[in-house]
Each structure stands twice: as structure tokens, then as C-alpha cells.
């Protein structure tokens, strides 16, 4: 089977001005957004506050969550619903910069504690104050200690069973679950638990705080990783293709891969964290190797078709490789799409970036890499001839 019955003959280079214009529009819009508008939002990894993921026993709405938070003066936090049944939420406290660096991580932690306490609600706090234990947050050892009184020999076993069940489901929503399959707890255990514990309204799934010092370090490391891998790729390309024009084209392609992807990303509410940096570099590597394959073809054809104009050779190369470009980007797109749909909330930003990047990579390979070589040859090589 083939996408194209015979090698297509699309004059890609005819559209070079349109392509450049489109790129320019996206990049300028992105830069304006980044520099003047809301722009790129740095995430927790780079020292900007605390990220808390919570799961509620019963469905709640974003506005209810916000109401609870505004009661403790944190209504301006970013609240996102995550996952199923309106029970999981991702809350990002906005950093309140304090005067000294020393206080900062502590203040983040205090903020995070405040978020958790406010979400627990008055009822749960009172129960805790009465000395009841929260079955949705209790750890194994404490639960074992508690169960010793009714089941001295079985206590550890039972505690493990209950905690494992909770781990699998995230939260225990009702007492009935304890006596049902798969737990099947005996009556005296459930009645002890009902007397001594309560089912907390919510549980904390994860909590991340990065202080300003580590945030600064991570920013530095991310920058280093970007700069060194870009240099690495450029050196490799320069060695591999001896012509300066190909090196220049590679730099150009690379720069616009980064710019376009980040421009589009800046228009979403998503944040920049370490996985995003990793994704960006992967996109660049992937797009560059697409470009290399095309350049390889051009040089091969230049050897056999010496009389032909460079522009025609380029068009031919692009067309010859078109099905390959579409298929490989297509398979990567399929895998990234599956990651985007099924991979879960934690990896969702990364998957989204890769989706943009995969599409953008095809565009930059087809429309943008060759024109640069062409311009270079027209402007610099012609001058040499005139001399």
C-alpha cells in the first residue's frame, strides 16, 4: 500500500514566502504574548510555589473548592479539575514573596498546610480534635496499633489489607466498602473503626514544593541542558554536512522549532516544568533528523543530476521523502496521542507539547529547512561568482 500512487510532485519551495510569513506571524504573536502578555508560566520545578493534588470522597465543583480556599485568603490559587468524576483536583498556590529567602520555603509549606486544612473542612477538623483518626490518611503502623485491641494476631494483616485497598482506590468513600468484597472485614473490626476513626473528606495525592534556591539551580541546569544539546547537535551537523549553508539551515530550523512550539504553548494555561524542557529537546532532535534525511537526499541527487537547478532538486527530494516524513511523524504522533489520552494528568503537559512539536516538526522540515539553503546559495555564492 502507498500513500501516493506515484511520487508526488508538489512544488513546496513555491510556498516558501507563505510559509515564512506564517512562521513569522506565530512567532511574533508568541513573543508578544511571552514578553507582554501572560506568556510562559514557570512551574513548581523552577521555584514557583507549591503544587498539591487532592482527591475528595464525593464530587465537588471547582467553585466549591475555590470558596473553601478563599476562606483562608487563597482564592487566587490555580485550581484545575483532574481526572474522573470531579473528585480529583490540582491546586497551585500562587507564591507570596516574603522578604527573605530563608522564610520562603517555609512560607510555601505553611501555605500548603493551609490549603490542606481548609479543604478538610470544619467537620473533619473537629473530629481530629476529638481524637478520632482519619482512616483515609492513617498510616500502616498507626492502624495496626489501633486494630490490636480487637484482633491481636491479625492486626498487621488487616491494616495492610485496608491500606492497600485505599491505595488502589485513592480514597474510601463509605463504611459499606469495608464489609463488602474485596475487604470483607469482620463485624467487630468495622465497628471498632466506626467508633475510633472517621472517613476523611479528602486525601492528599501528592505535594510538591521547591524552594527558591533549588528552583534557581534547576533553572540553571535546564538552561545548560538546552544550550549544550543544541551545541552538540550543531557540531554534529557541521561535521556531517561540510557546507556552511546546511549548518545555517539547521540552526534556523532548530531555532524556529523552539520558537514556534513555545509560542503555541504560551497561549495555553500550561506551565513549564522539567519534563517540558525534555520534551522540547526531543522535538528539536526529532525535527533535526527529519531535516538531515532530506539534506542527505539532496546531496545524493546533486551527484547524479549535476545539470538540474538546486530548487528542483530540493523539490524532488522533499517529494521523494514525503511519504517517509508523513509516516514516521504519523507513528510518533499516534504514540504521543495515546500518551495524551491515556497517560494521565501528571504527564499530560508533556504529551501536549509533544503533540504540537510533532506537527510542527513536519511543517518545518518540509517548508522551512530548504529555503534557507537556497537563500544562502543565492546571496553568498552568487557574489563569489561576480567577483
Amino acid at each position: 500500500m502507498q500513500i501516493f500512487k506515484k511520487t508526488p510532485n508538489i512544488p513546496f519551495l513555491k510556498y516558501k514566502w507563505i510559509a515564512l510569513a506564517v512562521t513569522l506571524v506565530i512567532v511574533v504573536a508568541g513573543l508578544i504574548n511571552i514578553l507582554v502578555g501572560k506568556g510562559l508560566k514557570l512551574g513548581v520545578d523552577f521555584g514557583e510555589g507549591t503544587l498539591i493534588r487532592v482527591m475528595f470522597k464525593e464530587p465537588v465543583s471547582v467553585s466549591e473548592v475555590r470558596k473553601l480556599l478563599s476562606e483562608v485568603g487563597l482564592g487566587d490559587s490555580i485550581i484545575q479539575e483532574a481526572g474522573k468524576e470531579s473528585r480529583e483536583f490540582q491546586i497551585r498556590t500562587m507564591e507570596k514573596r516574603t522578604t527573605t529567602q530563608d522564610q520562603e520555603i517555609e512560607s510555601h509549606q505553611i501555605l500548603a498546610d493551609r490549603v490542606i486544612q481548609s479543604l478538610q473542612g470544619e467537620e473533619d477538623r473537629q473530629k481530629l480534635a476529638q481524637g478520632l483518626l482519619d482512616l483515609n490518611n492513617i498510616d500502616r503502623t498507626s492502624l495496626t496499633n489501633l486494630l490490636r485491641s480487637v484482633a491481636p494476631d491479625e492486626a498487621e494483616n488487616l491494616a495492610n489489607k485496608i491500606v492497600n485497598y485505599r491505595t488502589e482506590n485513592g480514597i474510601i468513600a463509605s463504611w459499606d466498602e469495608l464489609s463488602r468484597e474485596p475487604l470483607n472485614l469482620p463485624g467487630e473490626v468495622t465497628s471498632l473503626l466506626q467508633n475510633r476513626t472517621f472517613l476523611g473528606k479528602m486525601t492528599v495525592l501528592s505535594r510538591e514544593t521547591v524552594g527558591p534556591q533549588v528552583g534557581k539551580d534547576l533553572r540553571k541546569k535546564a538552561t545548560q541542558a538546552i544550550i549544550w544539546s543544541l551545541i552538540g547537535m550543531l557540531v554534529y551537523i557541521a561535521l556531517r554536512f561540510k557546507g556552511v549553508e546546511y549548518g545555517a539551515a539547521a540552526i534556523f530550523t532548530l531555532a524556529q522549532d523552539v520558537l514556534i512550539t513555545m509560542s503555541i504553548y504560551s497561549f495555553t494555561p500550561r506551565e513549564i516544568n522539567l519534563p517540558i524542557i525534555a520534551g522540547l529537546l526531543t522535538i528539536v532532535g526529532f525535527s533535526i533528523n527529519d531535516t538531515i534525511v532530506i539534506f542527505d537526499r539532496i546531496r545524493e541527487l546533486q551527484r547524479t543530476m549535476r545539470k538540474e537547478k538546486l530548487e528542483n532538486i530540493m523539490n524532488l527530494s522533499l517529494n521523494l521523502n514525503l511519504s517517509r516524513t508523513l509516516i514516521t511523524s504519523g507513528t510518533v504522533f499516534l504514540t504521543v496521542l495515546s500518551l495524551y489520552i491515556f497517560g494521565g494528568q501528571v504527564i499530560n503537559d508533556f504529551a501536549f507539547l509533544m503533540l504540537i512539536g510533532t506537527i510542527e516538526g513536519v511543517y518545518s522540515t518540509i517548508f522551512l529547512s530548504c529555503p534557507v539553503v537556497l537563500f544562502w546559495n543565492q546571496y553568498f555564492k552568487k557574489k563569489k561568482l561576480h567577483k
Partner: protein, 511 residues
């Protein structure tokens, strides 16, 4: 079968067999990162300035003593800042004697006279040594505490000059461990001179409103129920350093408490003080907060109980920190990431799901588009996955969520090489070459492109590994493994399959 094909088959079987061996059983061989297993990642900073400060205080009081003993007079002795203290008002004729004494007692401090002022400065090298020691000791103490608390496979490492990374897999109660690590845990037993009083003013009424020179004020720990201020002696009778054994027990009312015994040296002092002060109160102070102040009822020599309305967990934790000893310097948390076990197992489930769907989608596409040759690519893809996991098992790499993303991405990229080759073979066939030579040219022509494309991605992955932290390192590792494995499967294995299954005089190729 041709002879060189037999050899190739043998290589493939050996490589795959080795990889299967390396990864089996996967539960033991593939370590899961904290983001998948659940756990806490902490970065903390040792406040090494504390160690310098303590040394300064010690040296200051030591020289005060030495000067007094040797009849060197001075008007004032004070600490200026950590690492610097001075004596003022030393008579000029005693300067020589003072110099001799200092030279005799310390090499770690520089000193200089200017007028009647003698200033001590801690040498850079000595300060550096103190800071370094503080970090090493803190690391050891934290390790002891965590070991005693009982965490499976903790990672406790030094990072840079004054940071310590602590990774605790499978922790369900991160706050408890965090507090356990952070407490300085300086335990002191001091005689009570007055108290309790509701505030400092009432407390000091009998002393003319001033704290006596040999005493200090401590506040009771609000967690222990009682509120109040106590005036206690400045010098501790015994401290945490004098403890010989510590264990959890109960007090006379069956409340959780901590039992301890003292070493001979401490016991001697304890006996002396308790014997002489029957009827008075003895304050038990932890990190400057009074825990309880029991009345001394009899002479006690080498054992005792610390009580103070503890919960069972608090008593357990107190045993842990007393056994592990005090921290030589304060610490501060710089980074904290906690992933609960249920989010971790969710991530594993979702990652697995995404991976399976991705593989399935790619397989369907390849068979649909390339027919039997697609089957060839799929075989290569599956072997590719086996090699990735084998390599991860061999390198003892940790699988993280971004790592899973790397593997899934690798599935998409792995078929890239096959696509390059197949498209090239198609072109050759279209030009009219015979099948066997088309396959041969397809492979040889596509090779340079495959090599280049894998290498550019590997370059960026290597730098990600170099500069990345935990999860990102995991991503870089799986990506590198999958790209290297790709060179073997797509080029070597695929070629073998074509050579083995396509007859030399074939007229058609299912591609």
C-alpha cells in the same frame, strides 16, 4: 539456511536471551522511581554556620577560663560574629604571656593585638573543616534516625557542599518523617529554680526582675499540654550524650513514656545532683522546650523515665531521635516532593495503558501499510522493547513516569528506521530492480540517514541525562536505550528476517 544466516540467528537469540535474563523477574530487576512507587524526596541544607558558631562559643569560654587561670586580666570578652571573638582591656605587659598561651592552646585561630584589643579569627581551613564535618555528621545522624524509624531502601546522599538529598520510598506519613529528620534533638536535664509561672515577669519577681547569671528561662512545650515558664540552671546535669540506652515504655499511669539508662560518667553526676536536691523539680528539656518537670523523690543513679503526655507515635519518635543523637547543626528544607502511593500506582496503570494502546496502534498501522514487511517491523519493535528493558535491568536504571513516556515515544521512533528502509526498497523496486538487490540497496542507502537521525536525538538525551534530575534522568535513559536498541533491531534483525524469509529469486515482495 545459509551459513552466515545461522550466525546472525545465533547472535539475535543470544542478545534477546541475555536481555530476558537481565530483566527477569521484572519486579526485582526494574526499580520504580518515587513518582511511581510513592514516596518522599527531600533536599535539605545543613546550616553549617551553626557549627562555626558553636565552635566560636566554645573557644571563647575556653580562653576566658585559660586567661583567668593564668592571671591575665581583661575588661570584656565577647563574640563579634560566628568565627570571630575578642578580648578588650588586656594590659600591655601581659600581651607576651597571652601570645604564648594562645600558641600553646590553638592552631585553628588567627589572633591579632591592636591597642588593648585581642581579636581571634577562625582560619579559613579550620572553618571549612568544621562545616564539612557538620554536614558529614548530620548525614550520619539522619541516616541513623531513618534506619531506626524503619524505611526500606532509603537514599541519603550528600549533594554539593552543604546539601543532603533524602529519598524515602513508600512513606505513608511524610510529615512525621520530616519532623523526625528536622528536630535538632538536644536533650538536657536541668534543675528547676522557679516555676511554673504564666509569664516571664511573674517568674522573675523573686529575682528582682532579672535572670540570675547561673540560670535561664525555658518555656514548656505546648504539645505537652502544660503552659508556663520555668527558671532553670544554666548548666545541664546530664545531656543526651550521657544516654546509654533508650527504649519505649509506659509511666506509672500507663501512658506512653521513654525509659533511659545513663553511662557511668553521667550516672555519677545524676546521682550527685538528684541526691542533693530531693524534693526539687528536675526539668527535662528537648531542643529548648520543657517536656516535663518531675519532682525528684529519691536519689536516682543510672536510669529514669521521660514522661510528658506523649502519643504512642511521639514516644516512638523520641526514642528514635535520642538513639540517633543530636544534629550538630540546624537544617532547612529546600525542596520537598511527596507522591502518595495511590497516585503512583495510578501513574503506572495509566502509563501501561498508554504504552499498550501506542504499540497496538503502531502495529495495526504497520501491518495495514506494509503487509508482511510490516510484520517484520513489528517483530523488530517487540525485540526492541525487550532490549530496552534488558539494558535497564543491566544498568540498574530507575523507571520513572517520564521514563515511561520515553519508552512510548521510542515505540513511535523505532519504526522510523524501518519506514526509511521500506520506503527506499519500494523506490528501488519501482525503478525495476529485482527484489533481492532492492532489499540490499534499500538497507545500505537508508543506513546513513538512520544513523544520523538516531544520533542527533541521542546527543540531546545525553545532555539531559547530564543535567537532569531524577525523573528526567529516567527519561533520558529510556530514550537512549531505545535508540541504541533501534540500531540493532531495525538494521540487523530486520535484514535477517528479509534474508531468511524472502527467497533469492522472489518476484514479489509484500511491502
Amino acid at each position: 539456511m545459509k551459513k552466515n544466516l545461522q550466525w546472525k540467528l545465533a547472535i539475535i537469540v543470544v542478545v534477546i536471551g541475555l536481555c530476558l535474563f537481565l530483566v527477569y523477574p521484572p519486579k526485582d530487576k526494574i526499580k520504580l522511581g518515587l513518582d511511581l512507587k510513592g514516596g518522599t524526596h527531600l533536599v535539605l541544607q545543613v546550616l553549617t554556620e551553626d557549627a562555626v558558631n558553636v565552635e566560636t562559643d566554645q573557644q571563647l569560654s575556653r580562653f576566658e577560663e585559660v586567661f583567668k587561670k593564668n592571671n591575665i586580666t581583661y575588661l570584656e570578652a565577647n563574640k563579634e560574629k560566628p568565627g570571630r571573638f575578642y578580648f578588650r582591656g588586656i594590659p600591655v605587659d601581659q600581651e607576651g604571656k597571652a601570645r604564648d598561651l594562645i600558641d600553646q592552646y590553638t592552631r585553628d585561630w588567627d589572633y591579632s593585638f591592636s591597642g588593648d584589643r585581642l581579636t581571634f579569627n577562625l582560619k579559613m581551613v579550620a572553618a571549612q573543616y568544621l562545616r564539612d564535618l557538620a554536614v558529614t555528621q548530620t548525614l550520619e545522624t539522619i541516616r541513623n534516625r531513618i534506619d531506626q524509624f524503619g524505611v526500606a531502601e532509603p537514599v541519603i546522599q550528600r549533594q554539593g557542599s552543604d546539601r543532603i538529598v533524602v529519598e524515602l520510598p513508600g512513606i505513608e506519613d511524610p510529615d512525621r518523617v520530616k519532623n523526625l529528620i528536622k528536630v535538632t534533638a538536644v536533650l538536657e536535664f536541668k534543675l528547676v529554680k522557679a516555676g511554673p509561672a504564666p509569664d516571664e515577669e511573674t517568674l522573675l519577681r523573686d529575682f528582682g526582675g532579672k535572670v540570675p547569671e547561673d540560670a535561664e528561662v525555658v518555656k514548656s512545650d505546648p504539645k505537652r499540654g502544660t503552659q508556663g515558664y520555668y527558671l532553670v540552671s544554666k548548666v545541664a546535669t546530664v545531656t543526651g550524650k550521657d544516654l546509654r540506652t533508650v527504649r519505649r515504655g509506659v509511666d506509672e499511669w500507663n501512658n506512653p513514656a521513654v525509659h533511659f539508662t545513663l553511662n557511668p560518667d553521667g550516672a555519677k553526676r545524676f546521682e550527685q545532683v538528684t541526691g542533693a536536691n530531693i524534693g526539687k523539680q528536675l526539668a527535662i528539656i528537648l531542643d529548648g522546650r520543657l517536656q516535663s518537670a518531675p519532682v525528684i523523690e529519691a536519689r536516682i543513679s543510672d536510669s529514669g523515665i521521660i514522661q510528658g503526655r506523649f502519643t504512642p507515635e511521639e514516644a516512638d519518635d523520641l526514642v528514635v531521635i535520642l538513639k540517633a543523637g543530636a544534629l550538630p547543626a540546624g537544617i532547612k528544607y529546600l525542596e520537598e516532593r511527596t507522591v502518595g502511593p495511590s497516585l503512583g500506582s495510578d501513574s503506572v496503570r495509566q502509563g501501561l495503558m498508554a504504552g499498550l494502546v501506542a504499540i497496538f496502534a503502531v502495529m495495526v498501522f504497520m501491518i495495514f501499510y506494509y503487509r508482511l514487511s510490516g510484520l517484520n517491523a513489528i517483530t523488530a519493535l517487540i525485540l526492541n522493547e525487550i532490549i530496552i528493558f534488558g539494558a535497564m535491568g543491566y544498568f540498574k536504571a530507575t523507571l520513572t513516569l517520564p521514563g515511561i513516556a520515553g519508552i512510548i515515544l521510542g515505540i513511535g521512533m523505532a519504526v522510523d528506521a524501518n519506514v526509511l528502509i521500506f520506503e527506499r526498497i519500494k523506490e528501488e523496486i519501482a525503478v525495476g530492480k529485482n527484489i533481492t538487490s532492492s532489499i540490499a540497496t534499500g538497507f545500505s542507502r537508508a543506513f546513513s540517514a538512520i544513523f544520523d537521525s538516531n544520533l542527533t536525538t541521542i546527543i540531546s538525551a545525553v545532555f539531559l541525562f547530564q543535567f537532569g534530575t531524577g525523573p528526567i534522568k529516567g527519561y533520558a535513559v529510556t530514550l537512549i536505550c531505545s535508540l541504541v536498541a533501534n540500531l540493532f533491531t531495525a538494521v540487523f534483525v530486520s535484514r535477517f528476517i528479509f534474508d531468511a524469509f524472502v527467497p533469492t529469486n522472489a518476484k514479489r515482495l509484500s511491502i
